[in-house]
C-alpha cells in the first residue's frame, strides 16, 4: 500500500467538499455564508507555498549534485505551483467580488500574489530561452533560488506592512479569532493537507512524464 497518501488526498478533499458546505460556520456580517470559501481558497496557497518550497530545495540540491532529476523536480513543482496560484487567485477574486465589491481591488496582498506569479512565469521563460540542458538547469536553479525570498517578501511581508483589506494583513485579524468552537479548523486543516498531497501527486505525475519523454527522445 504505497499509494495510501493519494487515496488520503482524494478522501480529504471529498470530505472538505461535503463538510465545507454542510458544517456550521460563525454568522458574521458582510461575509455571511461566503466564509465557506475559506476552505477552498486558503488550501490553494498552502499547496502553492509547499510546492515552491520543494522547488527551491531541489534547485539548491541540483546546484550541489548536478543531477538533472533534481532540476526536473524543481521545474515541475513550479509548474504545478503556478496552477494552484491561479486557482487561489480565482477563488480570491470570487470572494473579493462578494465582500469587497470588486474582483480586483488595488490591494497589497492581491497585487503581491500576482507579481509573484509573474516572477515564476519569468522563470519558465528563462528556461525556454536556454537551449543546452545543463546550462538551462543551472541558470534556472539560480534564478529560482533568487526569486524565492522575493516571493516571501511580496506575499507575506509587504501586505503586513501596508494597508490591506485582506484578513491577516494590514492590521486585520485572521479567521482564527472568529472560529470560536474550532468547527472551521476541523474542515480547513484536512482540506489543506488534502490539497497539498494532491499537489505532490500532480508533481509526481508530471515529473514521470518528463522523465519518460527524456528517455524517448
Amino acid at each position: 500500500m504505497k499509494h495510501w497518501w493519494k487515496a488520503l488526498s482524494v478522501l480529504l478533499i471529498l470530505y472538505s467538499l461535503i463538510a465545507g458546505l454542510l458544517g456550521s460556520v460563525p454568522a458574521l456580517p458582510i461575509v455571511n455564508e461566503t466564509i465557506r470559501l475559506l476552505y477552498y481558497h486558503l488550501p490553494m496557497w498552502f499547496a502553492m507555498f509547499t510546492l515552491y518550497l520543494i522547488s527551491v530545495i531541489y534547485s539548491i540540491r541540483y546546484l550541489n549534485s548536478g543531477k538533472l532529476e533534481h532540476d526536473h523536480i524543481a521545474v515541475e513543482s513550479v509548474n504545478v505551483g503556478i496552477i494552484f496560484c491561479g486557482l487561489g487567485l480565482a477563488t480570491g477574486m470570487l470572494w473579493a467580488n462578494f465582500t469587497w465589491g470588486d474582483p480586483w481591488p488595488n490591494d497589497a496582498k492581491v497585487n503581491g500574489s500576482a507579481i509573484a506569479t509573474l516572477m515564476y512565469l519569468a522563470y519558465l521563460v528563462l528556461r525556454n530561452a536556454l537551449e543546452e540542458e545543463q546550462k538551462r538547469a543551472k541558470i534556472g536553479a539560480i534564478y529560482n533560488i533568487f526569486a524565492f525570498p522575493v516571493m516571501i517578501v511580496l506575499m507575506y511581508i509587504l501586505p503586513k506592512m501596508t494597508d490591506s483589506l485582506h484578513p491577516g494583513s494590514g492590521g486585520n485579524s485572521g479567521f482564527g479569532e472568529f472560529d470560536l468552537n474550532n468547527s472551521m479548523k476541523l474542515v480547513l486543516y484536512p482540506a489543506s493537507l488534502g490539497w497539498i498531497l494532491m499537489g505532490l501527486w500532480l508533481t509526481q505525475i508530471r515529473y514521470r512524464i518528463r522523465r519518460l519523454s527524456q528517455r524517448l527522445f
Binding site: 546546484l63 530561452a129 536556454l130 546550462k135 539560480i142 533560488i145 533568487f146 522575493v150 506592512m161
Partner: protein
C-alpha cells in the same frame, strides 16, 4: 591576494576602463536627461505624487539600461582569465560596488536635472536624498545578479526586463512609499520601518548573489 584586494583591483579596473571610454556613462546620462525632457514636454505640470512616481520610473528604466551592460564587455576569453586569477565572489562584489557608485552618480544627476525642470515639491529634502541613495544601491544590488543571469542567456534585453521587473517591484513599492513620506513631510520616525526593510532586502540580495554567483560563473 585576499578577496578585498581582488575587489579593490577589479573595481579600479572597471572605473579606469569607464573613464577612458566614457561610453556607458555618457550614453546613460544623455538617456536620463532626454527622458526627463520628453516627460516634461508631455506633462508640463504635475502634482507631487505623480512627480515622485515619474522620477522612480525614469530611474528604473535608466538603471536597467545602465546595469544590463555590466557584463557585456567581459568576453569569454577575459572571463577565463579572471577565472584563473581571482575568486568569483570578488568579481560579483566588485561589480555590485561599481554599479552602486554608477547608480549613485546617475541618480544624483537625475535628481538635480529633474528638480530644476519639474520644480521641487519636497518638504523633507534630506529624507528624499536618503531614499534616492538607498534606491540606487538597491537597484544595483538586484540588477547586477540578474544581468549576470541574462548575459548567460545571450544578452537578451527582453529577458533582462522580464526577469528583473517582478523582483524589483517590492523594492519600488517601498521606495515610493518612503519618498512619499519625504514629500508629505511626515515625522522621520514614521519612515524607519521602510528604511529597515530596504536595508534588509539589500543585505539579502547581496548575500544571495555572493552565494549563487560562483555557480553561475563556473558554467
Amino acid at each position: 591576494m585576499s578577496t578585498w584586494q581582488q575587489v579593490k583591483h577589479l573595481l579600479l579596473k572597471d572605473m579606469i576602463l569607464e573613464w577612458r571610454s566614457k561610453y556607458a556613462i555618457n550614453g546613460i546620462l544623455l538617456y536620463v536627461v532626454s527622458t526627463i525632457f520628453v516627460c516634461y514636454q508631455a506633462f508640463q505640470s504635475i502634482d507631487p505624487t505623480t512627480w515622485n512616481v515619474l522620477f522612480w520610473i525614469i530611474l528604473l528604466f535608466a538603471s536597467i539600461n545602465a546595469i544590463s551592460k555590466s557584463f557585456v564587455q567581459e568576453g569569454a576569453a577575459r572571463q577565463l582569465y579572471y577565472y584563473s586569477m581571482v575568486s568569483a565572489k570578488a568579481v560579483i562584489l566588485s561589480k555590485i560596488l561599481y554599479n552602486s557608485l554608477l547608480m549613485i552618480l546617475l541618480t544624483a544627476l537625475a535628481l538635480v536635472v529633474y528638480t530644476v525642470i519639474f520644480g521641487n515639491p519636497l518638504v523633507d529634502f534630506p529624507l528624499y536624498i536618503v531614499a534616492v541613495f538607498l534606491g540606487s544601491i538597491s537597484f544595483a544590488s538586484v540588477f547586477t545578479m540578474v544581468s549576470g543571469i541574462s548575459v548567460k542567456a545571450g544578452h537578451n534585453m527582453t529577458l533582462m526586463s522580464v526577469l528583473s521587473f517582478p523582483i524589483v517591484i517590492p523594492l519600488l513599492i517601498i521606495l515610493i512609499e518612503l519618498s512619499n513620506n519625504a514629500i508629505n513631510g511626515l515625522p522621520r520616525a514614521d519612515s524607519y520601518p521602510e528604511i529597515l526593510v530596504l536595508v534588509a532586502i539589500n543585505i539579502i540580495a547581496v548575500a544571495v548573489s555572493l552565494l549563487l554567483f560562483p555557480y553561475l560563473w563556473r558554467e
